[in-house]
Symmetry: D2
Subunit: 90 residues, 4 copies
Amino acid sequence: MAGYSLSRDDYLKRLRLIEGQVRGLQRMVSEDKYCIDILTQVSSVKQALQGVAVGLLDEHVRHCVMDAAAKGDDSKVGEATAAIERLLRS
Amino acid sequence: MAGYSLSRDDYLKRLRLIEGQVRGLQRMVSEDKYCIDILTQVSSVKQALQGVAVGLLDEHVRHCVMDAAAKGDDSKVGEATAAIERLLRS
Amino acid sequence: MAGYSLSRDDYLKRLRLIEGQVRGLQRMVSEDKYCIDILTQVSSVKQALQGVAVGLLDEHVRHCVMDAAAKGDDSKVGEATAAIERLLRS
Amino acid sequence: MAGYSLSRDDYLKRLRLIEGQVRGLQRMVSEDKYCIDILTQVSSVKQALQGVAVGLLDEHVRHCVMDAAAKGDDSKVGEATAAIERLLRS
């Protein structure tokens, strides 16, 4: 098991933390907090989402892409590459 | 008013949508949805957060940075640049 | 062959174009061109590099990662994930 | 002078280093170097370009945007924001 892979519970735990951070952002905006502090928090949420994405991607390649390949089907590679491209642009 | 600037209510509305998207991600993970679909949703949340950040940054430069500069204080520029750098790395 | 994969010659052609763009950036700086125009060009070089990276990554997963997996070795997945993570942070 | 601002010579020096890195990438592709090593180098070139962009942006806000604002013209803020948005997507 690679360091990137998480259990489903770990993903849920991380996503609940991210949800809490997004609610924190709403509070900061409502309370007119200093812009730069809000931006710092936005960067931190983006990074947390990235962590989730990288873990899911690792697992996806490790399982779905590999399993398909073992059956001679490499169509899943292009699909994964397109997902990486979307992440890079976002 | 520039096209980037939003009212506080608009920011709150966007952040509530983002919160809903993050809850949607939790549902997708719990229901074992297809990895690539989850990744597409993560990219979309990141992009929505980016939109919030770009709007806040525009407003911050337009108001705080400018006001400080009008008083001969350019210390806020470096602070804004550092925030941009953190966004670019996240 | 996926739409992402390029021949070695295509990569070299793209990288030579990128080299030309970087020389163009030097010219712009020497001639004191307008900052925003230089920044637009920097974004375009970054995007061209991204295109090269995404193509190489697709090919790498399609060949090296798959071949290793066929031999029961999945150590190449974590290595590819780490490379994606570096790209996402850069 | 902020830590981000560089002299024109510093920018040229950095851009010449980046040009050398891009030529290095061409060599790596020609010599069939290991994909992951090429990707690591691409990430490093992207980061070096980012450094140039962040420096130019800081200077642009510090000078052009501020000078225009001092004359009551805030049209340069939206232009700078659009440039930041392009960098974030690239």
